[in-house]
């Protein structure tokens, strides 16, 4: 249908040279920020209209390839990177071997479920493990909704102005504040002002503050990664902002949000410094049963045993470290599994 249409049009007075069946372009496209794209027509025209390629006047003296030398530099760089990797792996392996050599013999079911004791061969980590589990659950309960809510507001609702940038910058800075500082804050705010005392609640709130910036940043990244075309598709069907977020953005972003949250939580249960400040105990002879109970957590129990003079306690500490490591590794494994499960689909 188009060909006869074209033929019917009067041929322009000054015929332009044709290439590949298309007229050559002399017209400069109007520029328009963000929308301009290169035209196939003009590329073809440039190729065929310009002077012949200067390959005809090759001059090898203009180049000095030095291939062997460049190859050597390339392999040297690769070797350096390998060494850097190996240093990390070897140190980590040495650490693991050391802990296992010290602690593996003390690892037993009675040690995992038992209570602490002033006799090292009877000491167990039951209360510390239960305390860590409580803190983990409560921290997640506080930090997850707050973190995800903040991320959604920053990404989807906040106007892109200097206030938003100021908030984001501060959140990024908070992620770098040493954990002991959060401990001091928790002591002042939760333990004293809110009179929560030496409770699981105070520890969980403190650790929630500590990992909040990490959850916010991870969630923001996950939300940012949802293609804009999905948002537009939802809006074009008459969805409100909330419907778009709930039905289209969050389901896509959730694996990323979960991964970030789990990694942040594993940081929280590995922390000793802030929980010491907000009042974890060195000796807890009961399993905490509600959030206002006193408690201890695994890292602090380990710290407590390591700082005793008797080497027998160091062995229990090593055994407890193995349990803590296993816990952290399984949390990382869950995060990786979640990420793989959902990224494979899309």
């Amino acid at each position: 249908m188009t060909e006869p249409v074209k033929d019917a049009v009067a041929v322009p007075a000054a015929p332009t040279p044709r290439t590949n069946g298309r007229p050559a372009t002399q017209f400069v496209r109007p520029t328009f920020a963000g929308l301009q794209r290169p035209s196939n027509g003009s590329i073809n025209a440039d190729e065929s209209n310009s002077a012949p390629h200067p390959a005809a006047q090759r001059d090898p003296s203009r180049f000095a390839p030095r291939v062997a030398q460049r190859r050597f530099i390339a392999s040297a760089f690769a070797a350096l990177c390998l060494v850097a990797t190996l240093i990390g792996v070897v140190v980590l392996a040495a650490l693991l071997i050391d802990i296992f050599r010290d602690g593996a013999s003390r690892l037993s079911w009675s040690m995992i479920t038992g209570f602490p004791s002033r006799f090292a061969d009877r000491a167990g980590i039951g209360p510390a493990l239960a305390g860590s589990a409580w803190v983990l659950a409560l921290t997640a309960l506080f930090a997850f909704p707050l973190g995800v809510g903040t991320a959604i507001w920053l990404e989807e609702y906040a106007p892109n102005n200097r206030w938003r940038r100021l908030i984001e910058m501060n959140i990024a800075n908070l992620a770098g504040v040493p954990s002991i500082v959060y401990g001091i804050l928790g002591l002042a705010l939760f333990v004293r002002v809110m009179s929560l005392g030496r409770s699981l609640m105070a520890a969980a709130l403190t650790l929630a503050l500590l990992i909040l910036p990490v959850i916010i940043i991870a969630s923001q990244e996950a939300i940012k990664a949802v293609p804009r075309t999905i948002r537009l598709g939802a809006y074009a069907l008459g969805a409100t902002r909330w419907e778009t977020i709930k039905h289209q953005i969050l389901p896509v972003a959730l694996p990323g949000i979960m991964t970030g949250t789990i990694l942040a939580l594993s940081r929280a249960i590995g922390e000793a410094a802030p929980v010491i400040l907000v009042g974890a105990l060195g000796f807890v002879a009961f399993i905490p049963t509600n959030p206002s109970d006193q408690y201890t957590v695994l890292p602090f129990q380990i710290f407590n045993w390591v700082s005793r003079p008797q080497t027998a306690f160091h062995e229990v500490a090593a055994a407890a470290s193995i349990v803590l490591l296993a816990l952290l590794l399984s949390m990382s494994a869950i995060a990786i599994w979640l990420r793989n499960k959902y990224t494979r689909r899309s």
Binding site: V5, V9, F27, P30, L237, A239, T240, R345
Partner: protein, 258 residues
């Protein structure tokens, strides 16, 4: 200039009146006035950055989503200003659907893609029936009827685009805006989309932005040529391609630029 804008006779579905769009200081669309007739196909052609997509997005208020955008003048739908007080963009977008350049199905099942719009808009009928009807309208039913629960991303590009059309039709809009709907598709998928557009105009007003003049010539009843934010010429497609009244139109359609 005025004889270059030849508004069609008959009932008007969409109309731009001295419509301008500003991105910051840049006036991307300049005082555009034209009428789009009910249940016909109108295409907007023109080089990249000429404002044709911007004009299209004015009609379902998708420009509102771009920060710093300002709209002057009026865009009327069935005589009512879409930018007037008391008009909700959410309601506008249900009645004026849109299909995008790149197929953008939600990463969910085919079924969920179709029912999302009706669900949020409180559809009261039978969803299975609606899904079948929408997919049939988009000429996709026969290909997917046995795998409605399959992820929409497992479809081919052309099927995905037809799913997006089905999704848009499922909320029973009156107008369908298409922003280069076939530019990411191969010739066979393109032909299917074009056949579909031809069928759709029985029930819908279709406005299509396209880079392909052949496509504009094949599918549309009226064509507007935009250049640098202005409508240079608007008229019946046949006339515009065989007997353009503006020199710039002629230059563009003969391929001297663009």
């Amino acid at each position: 200039m005025s004889e270059a804008i030849r508004n069609p006779a008959g009932p008007v579905e969409l109309e731009a009146r001295e419509l301008s769009v500003l991105y910051g200081e840049t006036r991307a669309l300049k005082y555009v006035s034209l009428k789009i007739p009910d249940r016909q196909v109108v295409s907007f052609i023109g080089p990249s950055g000429c404002g044709k997509s911007t004009l299209l997005r004015c009609f379902n208020r998708m420009n509102d989503l771009i920060p710093g955008v300002k709209i002057e003048g009026e865009a009327l739908f069935q005589g009512r200003n879409l930018y007037g007080t008391g008009v909700d963009a959410v309601d506008v977008r249900r009645r004026i659907g849109m299909v995008f350049q790149k197929p953008n199905p939600f990463p969910k099942s085919i079924y969920d893609n179709v029912v999302f719009g009706p669900k949020i808009n409180g559809y009261k009928g039978d969803f299975s029936e609606l899904v079948e009807r929408s997919l049939r309208q988009a000429a996709l039913w026969e290909e997917v009827k046995d795998r409605l629960e399959a992820n929409a991303l497992s479809l081919s590009g052309g099927q995905q685009q037809r799913l997006c059309i089905a999704r848009a039709l499922a909320v029973e809009p009156e107008v369908l805006l298409m922003d280069e709907p076939a530019s990411a598709l191969d010739p066979i998928a393109t032909q299917k989309i074009e056949d579909l557009i031809y069928d759709l105009k029985q029930d819908y007003t279709v406005v299509i932005v396209t880079h392909s003049m052949q496509q504009a010539a094949r599918v549309s009843d009226h064509t507007a040529f935009l250049y640098m934010g202005e409508v240079v010429e608007y008229g019946p497609t046949n006339e515009l391609f065989t007997n353009p009244r503006e020199e710039r139109t002629e230059a563009y359609i003969t391929g001297r630029f663009g």
